[in-house]
Symmetry: C2
Subunit: 451 residues, 2 copies
């Protein structure tokens, strides 16, 4: 057991493995991977190319092959399964659950998909076809069809017998769902209660009735929120008639949460495509360009704007010294404000303060920060530059910038959210660029007025 | 069932509830919350003050009270339970699991903690004392002591009998752990296998032996990675002797993942304390100041640095026009680079490319972006300003800034990670401030050399 947890990819092992691959030393490959978990084999295969990886997989038990392919991230898998023949895909997919099978089929070209679909075991084919009609990011697209359900009028003994029958197709189950004669979900009975209950009781007596369910059309983020809020390890999915059609387990939701966090981080850092460090140089370049271009456009507008004040700048060059300070502070304040809002939008505890109350608070925080920073900068400027008038201009502008940037940082994510965009967008280069221009405008108008 | 999922906080309901509270209309309070889930009651109570909330809680069943208090976030709870008497805390904590009980006890002042501890049920007290010695962010601090374990030499029937006995103290269990005579973990048997197996088999025949476990001292992030990697819904915790001491469930890990994502976002947006929008104005102000001060210090250094070139600026004022463009691009590139690195540090699939290969790729991407942007800006400047020499300076500086900022953005998170800091720190104001100064330096030296 110990060694499984601590299976580590040493450079020596990778090199030895490469040698075995080059020499087609099948027995080494098979033996060295015998007790290794699929996730660890996956990590190992990242070191080799697609053909080598397939060569290794072909030597492994079918279930392990399927588990490894199933765990690949989408981009990697789309490329990898191109080298598979439809008949190979059929036997692999036949060992998977319906939700995972549907995910892989969704990634295949339509012609291959039809061919693979037609070769699947009838029951699985039926389930997969039912799942393929849902978008990936709704409850219907996350759910699996495999579940254990019993009628509410069975006894505990009959129920256990029924579970035995159904359990063959479901290898991991958390709960047994209870439905009525029209297949409408009425509750859930835990294995624990079945195991510890009197065998002659009727299921409806021991089943828990007020359970949480989700509907097929709910978004994956809503499902994640519900499962997190109510601490659920699995949740049944019902259609509009309330009939039980599938179930979603917490591991799928962990993936949703992780992906969302990654997406937020990318939006915040101005990367426009889902890109990873090991993607190609070209893709990495392309993913970064859009936001950089927006920044450049903002920069050119800044330059054009400062051009309007050329005479003033020529007269008092020192005005230019403080544009970085004003702009950096505006950017920092804007990102802080938007980040706090994004977080409270994600936190459903927060409901009632009301738009104006929130705004009032934002202004109060901004005023306090602005006053403190302005006073500080005024003092520092007196010491460092000793130009009283300019110090005054910088401080007044800094105060205004802090207040305005807070406002923009607060309102932008709220507006984005209202119109259905991810509010995290507002913590990225978009708000930085806006705040740069805003800061410059305030600063130069202040200097124009006061000097 | 339906209405439970859709319990919504309407303004009308909150107002009606407030009225009931003011009039001490206990029957309305009790009836309106009768079938509402704890998480929904929690959301409702966010609208009221501590004394009102406690008044409501006191009317609810003890289990519901405990569930609500258990689900509060740490800051809210620390404040809220101040108004509870030790005897009240004792009866609430007695209904909780050991891990949750330990979390709450950890938040109490030492004197109250001792008093509450001494009043707990002996078994729970014993378990909690054992848990209190672990830090919150290691496996030992995450685990619960409640679990079902059986000896490997029992038959299925004896095992079910044993589970019945133990099940009373564990209300949600995923697996039954199998230990040998020295209490060392040897495997796991699923309820499903117990339910569907021949009753006369011995546990060691049907138990799964190569299971993943974690050790008490592992960090919570390692535990989260392992559970995510191997798709586990629960994981047993063993001590250094391999003895089974507890178990961690996926819902605890979902919290770890969510908190980590939030912490990353706060670091990236320059908020130095764990702060939420509904915290006090003062706390919101204080959480923002440190990074703003760093930005201000950077801004003053920028100003001082530009002062060195005062004569040049007075001669060619237009140089100043492009500092925002240079600095914003440097900042954007730096954050993009660090974000990609932070992501691949979080993604354990990535192991072998090696430091120099990564750096080479970063440079290539930077060169491509830099060349493209410089050419574009050169063209734009020719059109907008028509000062060839200045356009050349801006483009050369821009190219250098893109390359340098990529380097800094790549290396900083790697260094932070090496020394045990959260690499997401490098995507925040720290790198922005550094890159601002870097960009300005490159730009002014370029202009000094070329004009």
């Amino acid at each position: 057991m110990e060694e499984l947890v601590h299976f580590e990819l040493t450079r020596e092992f990778v090199e030895r493995f490469q040698k075995a691959l080059d020499e087609r030393d099948n027995s080494f490959i098979i033996e060295s991977l015998e007790n290794v978990k699929a996730a660890d084999i996956s990590a190992l295969l990242y070191e080799f190319n697609s053909d080598e990886s397939k060569y290794v997989l072909d030597l492994l038990p079918l279930e392990t092959q399927a588990e490894i392919i199933n765990d690949l991230d989408t981009d990697t898998r789309v490329n990898f399964i191109k080298i598979y023949q439809p008949f190979e895909l059929i036997s692999i997919i036949n060992t998977l659950h319906s939700d995972d099978a549907a995910d892989i089929l969704n990634e295949l070209p339509i012609k291959v998909r039809e061919e693979v679909l037609s070769g699947l075991d009838p029951e699985l084919r039926h389930q997969v076809i039912d799942l393929l009609r849902y978008e990936e990011n709704v409850a219907g697209g996350l759910m699996a069809k495999e579940l254990i359900k019993v009628h509410d009028n069975l006894t505990v003994v009959q129920c256990i017998e029924e579970i035995r029958k159904q359990a063959e197709s479901v290898d991991k189950f958390y709960a047994v769902y209870v439905v009525n004669e029209r297949d409408v979900l009425v509750g859930r009975v835990s294995l624990k209660d079945l195991v510890i209950s009197d065998a002659r009781k009727v299921v409806s007596e021991i089943c828990e009735k007020d359970i949480v369910s989700v509907e097929t059309y709910m978004s994956d983020l809503e499902v994640a929120d519900i499962m997190r809020k109510y601490d659920l390890e699995s949740v049944p999915v019902v259609n509009v008639q309330g009939q039980l059609v599938g179930r979603i387990t917490i591991d799928d939701v962990v993936d949703v949460i992780t992906e969302q966090a990654e997406e937020d981080r990318q939006l915040m850092s101005g990367i426009s495509e889902d890109v990873e460090e090991d993607d190609s140089v070209w893709r990495n370049t392309r993913a970064r360009l859009p936001w950089l271009l927006i920044g450049i456009a903002g920069g050119l507008m800044n330059a054009k704007f400062m051009g309007l004040f050329e005479e003033e700048l020529a007269r008092i060059t020192a005005i230019a010294f403080f544009t970085p300070l004003i702009q950096a502070t505006g950017g920092n304040v804007g990102i802080q404000s938007s980040s706090v809002i994004v977080q409270s939008l994600a936190n459903p505890g927060f409901v009632y303060e009301g738009f104006w109350a929130r705004l009032a608070k934002v202004f109060l925080v901004a005023m306090l920060n602005g006053l403190f920073l302005s006073a500080l900068v005024f003092g520092a400027n007196e010491l460092l530059f000793n130009q009283q008038k300019l110090s005054l201009v910088v401080s007044v502008a800094l105060f205004s910038v802090v207040v305005f940037a807070s406002f923009v940082g607060t309102v932008t994510p709220l507006i984005l959210n209202r119109f259905g965009f991810n509010p995290a967008l507002a913590s990225g280069p978009f708000i930085t660029t806006t705040n740069d221009l805003l800061g410059l405008t305030i600063y130069f108008f202040t200097s124009h007025l006061l000097i």
